[in-house]
C-alpha cells in the first residue's frame, strides 16, 4: 500500500470525487454546480501549468495564457474555418500550443528570474495584439464562436457535447489525464531533476545536468497542459476570444497557484476552486464583490504564505504533534 500516500492518494481521492460529482451534486445542489466544477477544473489546469514551471522548476511565467489561447484558437479555427471534427481540432489545438511553447521556450528558458518573467509576458502580449487585430481569422475582441462537433458519430450512434453529462465526462477525462501525467512526471527521475534545478541551478549544472534541455522540456510540458486547458475551454464555452490571451489571465493563474500552494500537486485545484467559487457566489448578490476578493487574496498571502496546501499541512502537523505528546 506504499504507493497510496501523499500525491498518489490525493490523486485517487480527486479522481473518485470527480467521477462521482454528477451523482453526488444533484442531491443537494443544482446542475449549475456540476458545470461550474468542470469549469474550475479547466482553469485549474492553467494554474497547474504555472505550478509546473514555478513550483518545480523555479521559473515564474506570466505568459501561460498564450498557450491556453493557442489551444483555444486551434480548436475554434479548426472547427469554424477548416470544418474539422472534434478529435482532429483537439489535436490541432494541442499541436499549435505545443509548437508555440517549443519556439517561445527555446528562447525564454535561457533567461532567469525577472528576465524570464518579462519575456513570457512580452511573447503573450505580442500574440494577444496579433489576435486582436487579425479579425478575419480570430474574430478579434468579439471572439470566434462555433457549433460543437460530435464526440462520437458512428452510424446511428451519436454522442454530442450538447449532452451535459457527455460534456462533463469528456472534460473530466482529459483534465484527470493531465493530472495523471503531471503526477507521473513528478514521481519520475525527470521530476526530481526539475526540483534539483529549482533548488540550485549552478550545482545541478556541475553534476552534469543539461539544465537548458530540462527547463525546455518542462516549459513545453507546461505549454502542453495549458494548451489542453485552452482546447477544453473552447469546447466548454464553444468559442475562442483574444481576451483570454491577455497577460491578466496569466496573472490570475499565477495567483491561483500561489494561493493554492505552489509546489504542491493539487494546490492549483484548491486555489482555483476557492477563488472561482467566491467569484460565482458573491457576484450574484453584490456588484462590487471584487473588493472582497482583493482583500481575501491579500489576507491569504499574509497569513498563509505557503498557500492553502501549506496551511493544511501545518494543521496536520499540529494535530499529529499533539497526539504524540499526549
Amino acid at each position: 500500500m506504499k504507493f497510496l500516500r501523499g500525491n498518489n492518494l490525493a490523486f485517487l481521492i480527486f479522481f473518485v470525487f470527480s467521477i462521482l460529482v454528477p451523482i453526488i451534486f444533484p442531491l443537494f445542489l443544482n446542475d449549475y454546480w456540476i458545470k461550474l466544477y468542470s469549469e474550475i477544473l479547466i482553469w485549474s489546469l492553467l494554474a497547474a501549468s504555472v505550478n509546473i514551471l514555478f513550483g518545480y522548476l523555479g521559473l515564474l511565467s506570466f505568459g501561460q495564457a498564450l498557450y491556453f489561447g493557442f489551444g483555444m484558437y486551434g480548436v475554434a479555427i479548426g472547427v469554424a474555418k477548416f470544418g474539422l471534427g472534434l478529435w482532429s481540432s483537439f489535436l490541432l489545438g494541442i499541436l499549435v500550443s505545443v509548437s508555440m511553447a517549443t519556439v517561445a521556450g527555446s528562447v525564454a528558458v535561457r533567461l532567469t528570474w525577472h528576465y524570464f518573467a518579462i519575456i513570457t509576458v512580452v511573447f503573450s502580449l505580442i500574440f494577444y495584439f496579433v489576435a486582436l487585430s487579425w479579425k478575419p481569422i480570430t474574430g478579434g475582441d468579439d471572439g470566434l464562436p462555433f457549433l460543437p462537433p460530435d464526440i462520437i458519430n458512428i452510424f446511428d450512434f451519436k454522442i454530442s457535447l450538447t449532452n451535459p453529462t457527455a460534456q462533463y465526462y469528456f472534460i473530466i477525462f482529459f483534465v484527470l489525464l493531465c493530472y495523471f501525467l503531471i503526477l507521473k512526471l513528478l514521481n519520475s527521475p525527470l521530476g526530481k531533476t526539475f526540483i534539483a534545478i529549482k533548488e540550485n541551478n549552478l550545482k545541478s549544472e556541475l553534476i552534469g545536468i543539461n539544465t537548458y534541455k530540462i527547463k525546455l522540456i518542462g516549459f513545453i510540458f507546461a505549454g502542453f497542459v495549458a494548451g489542453v486547458a485552452g482546447c477544453l475551454f473552447a469546447f466548454y464555452g464553444r468559442y475562442a476570444s483574444a481576451s483570454y490571451m491577455f497577460y491578466h489571465v496569466s496573472g490570475e493563474a499565477v495567483v491561483w497557484s500561489i494561493i493554492g500552494g505552489v509546489g504542491s500537486f493539487l494546490g492549483p485545484v484548491i486555489g482555483t476552486g476557492l477563488l472561482i467559487m467566491v467569484r460565482e457566489e458573491l457576484s450574484n448578490f453584490w456588484d462590487h464583490y471584487l473588493l472582497l476578493v482583493g482583500v481575501v487574496v491579500v489576507l491569504l498571502v499574509i497569513f498563509a504564505p505557503q498557500g492553502l496546501a501549506g496551511l493544511y499541512n501545518r494543521l496536520l502537523k499540529k494535530i499529529f504533534n499533539k497526539n504524540n505528546n499526549a
Binding site: F129, V255, I259, L291, G294, V295, V297, V298
Partner: protein, 285 residues
C-alpha cells in the same frame, strides 16, 4: 514626414510620462524586491484623483500638487499593511499586489464609475507644428515630467534620505548596522514610488482618458522599461522608456497603433535575447 515628426514627438512625450511611472516601479523593485503588479493602478488612481479634484475645485494646478501627496500617504499605508507582513518575498509580493490591484480597481469602479471620461486640457492653446495644430499642454507635460525626473535624481544623489535609499539598496544588513532606519526607508521608497506613479497619472490625464482599467494597459510597458534599461539602473529605465515609446510613435506613422505596439514588443524581444541584462549593461545588480 510631418506626421512622422509629430507622432515621434507624441511618442517621446508619452515616453517621459512612462519614464516617471517606471522610475517609481524601478525603485520599488530594486529596493524592496517587490514585483508590484498594482503599480499601473497607482497611475490610474492618480488620474482618478485628479478628475475628482478638478470636479470639485475646477483647478488642475491644485491637483498636480495634491495628488502626489495623497499618493505618498496611500503608498506608505499600503507598505505598512501589505508589503511589510510578507517580508519582501518576491513571489508573494506578486500575489499581494495583485490582490491590491483588484481592490483598487474595484473601489474606483464603485465610486468613479466604469465609463471612461475625458478631462479638459487645462491649457487650451495650440500652436502650428509642421502644419498640424499641436496642443500646448503636451509640451507642458513633457517639461513637467522632465522637471520631476530631475528633482528625483537630485534627491537620490544629494540628500541624506536619497543616499540612505541607495545604501539600503546596496546592502540592507550593513545599512541597518550603520544605523540607517531600514524599515522606514522601505516605507518611504514604496510611498515615493506610489507618488511618482500618481504624478504620472495626473500629467497623463488630460492626454488620455480617465478609466479604471488604464493601469492594466500601462503596466507591462513600465516593466519592460525597467528590465530593458537594466535592473537597478535608473538612468537606463528612463532611456529605455523614451526609446521604446518614440519608436512606437515612429512606427505608428506607417501603420495602425496595434501594429506599432506589436513592433515595439518585437523590438523588446530582440533586445532581451541579444542583451539579456538590459541595453545598458554595467547595471548595478
Amino acid at each position: 514626414m510631418d506626421t512622422l515628426i509629430v507622432l515621434a514627438l507624441n511618442g517621446l512625450i508619452w515616453g517621459l510620462i512612462i519614464a516617471l511611472i517606471a522610475l517609481g516601479l524601478s525603485i520599488i523593485f530594486g529596493l524592496l524586491d517587490v514585483i508590484n503588479i498594482a503599480h499601473g493602478d497607482f497611475f490610474m488612481l492618480g488620474s482618478v484623483f485628479a478628475w475628482f479634484i478638478i470636479k470639485f475645485t475646477g483647478n488642475f494646478w491644485l491637483a498636480i500638487f495634491i495628488v502626489p501627496i495623497i499618493g505618498f500617504g496611500l503608498g506608505a499605508l499600503c507598505e505598512i499593511l501589505i508589503i511589510r507582513p510578507i517580508k519582501n518575498a518576491a513571489a508573494l509580493s506578486i500575489v499581494a499586489t495583485f490582490g491590491l490591484s483588484i481592490f483598487l480597481q474595484e473601489s474606483v469602479r464603485a465610486t468613479y464609475g466604469a465609463a471612461p471620461k475625458r478631462l479638459m486640457t487645462p491649457i487650451n492653446d495650440t500652436f502650428l507644428l509642421f502644419g498640424t495644430e499641436y496642443e500646448f499642454y503636451r509640451l507642458f507635460a513633457a517639461f513637467f515630467a522632465i522637471l520631476i525626473i530631475s528633482i528625483f535624481f537630485l534627491f537620490l544623489h544629494k540628500t541624506k534620505i536619497g543616499i540612505w535609499m541607495r545604501a539600503v539598496r546596496f546592502n540592507p544588513e550593513i545599512a541597518t548596522a550603520m544605523g540607517i532606519p531600514t524599515k522606514k526607508i522601505y516605507s518611504f521608497t514604496f510611498a515615493l514610488g506610489f507618488a511618482l506613479a500618481a504624478q504620472g497619472g495626473v500629467i497623463a490625464a488630460p492626454i488620455t482618458t480617465v478609466d479604471f482599467q488604464s493601469g492594466i494597459d500601462i503596466l507591462p510597458f513600465c516593466f519592460m522599461a525597467v528590465i530593458i534599461g537594466g535592473l537597478g539602473n535608473l538612468e537606463g529605465t528612463v532611456a529605455a522608456a523614451l526609446i521604446l515609446s518614440t519608436f512606437e510613435g515612429v512606427v505608428a506613422t506607417f501603420g495602425d497603433p496595434t501594429v506599432a505596439r506589436i513592433s515595439s514588443l518585437v523590438l523588446m524581444c530582440i533586445i532581451l535575447i541579444l542583451r539579456p541584462h538590459g541595453i545598458f549593461s554595467g547595471a548595478k545588480s
